[in-house]
Symmetry: D3
Subunit: 69 residues, 6 copies
């Protein structure tokens, strides 16, 4: 499957914080570089996410902001 | 200023595609790792973005999806 | 690939409106039921979208609102 | 009221999962076709959502992605 | 119609910047307070937006970030 | 720091509803005008948000919808 979202980062699940509706998933996508996602608990379970598992972070370009110092 | 968005990546502007309302900005945040943002042309100009300039990509955690193979 | 986005609708590309940065893609996902997406022109071209082609609309649950009359 | 969001689907509330801040609402918008939304618990209560109630799913076009096999 | 989006601001259209797919709409929601939206050109035309017209800005709570100095 | 998000509103934290993953933050940005945000609990704690504290609501233009009566 190929998706229109422009940003895909391969990584490893580093931490999962569990809520009642949403879970917070942190992926390490490079040494010392982490991406945090909030997805539904149902999705996290359906994907079988757990610490150490390989996964991808996917982000639509229109959801990325830019800043400068 | 500190912002609630959980994901901030420091990088360098690699390419700017200009539109009439939106511009597409690509940042290189690590060797070979790029992030693409779509922001308003007004913002891109206000930030003074141009190729080679240092900038940050900022992404709210609720806008990040996760996938597995 | 399995993605955390909860909503996936299979359909057929019905119309493409082309812009300079973004394209607008309309999929028919059931008889008389259409979904409109705005994605980057680069993505639309990379996916090889054209009228009549089979494609999927994907939507993260946190981007769906609910209303009542 | 008419809203700029391009995608509106009429359906029936099929399931509500309750959290502390957010609720997850699933609407059936056609036989066998469901849309899942995550909205604040306050909104779900304000709208009086409950299983079997008629409601609409509303999605902004810039939040829709497209994929192909 | 009542919608789950938590933030609604009544205002007046102050400026419209027209693109090929998206338009940028600026509303004045209080003296000196403006909100800028990017919506599809089709939506802007369907709503009959023009300078001076009364309109509302609507924002889902999960799309709002918070910052501090 | 200057950010591409077009909408920034200065206000005061009026209410915090705490969840397990997300918190709901309400800012009063003008007398009688409130903005509600859903951000991760980790962010709310990191920013040191509490009732009465000065803070900003930040919203990307592509996340703003427009409606008319």
């Amino acid at each position: 499957m190929e998706i229109s979202a422009r940003n895909t980062f391969k990584g490893t699940v580093k931490e999962i914080v569990t809520g009642s509706v949403n879970d917070e998933i942190t992926l390490e996508i490079a040494p010392g570089v982490e991406v945090t996602a909030v997805i539904t608990k149902t999705s996290a379970e359906s994907l079988g996410l757990k610490e150490g598992k390989e996964a991808y972070a996917i982000i639509k370009a229109s959801d990325v902001m830019v800043s400068v110092d």
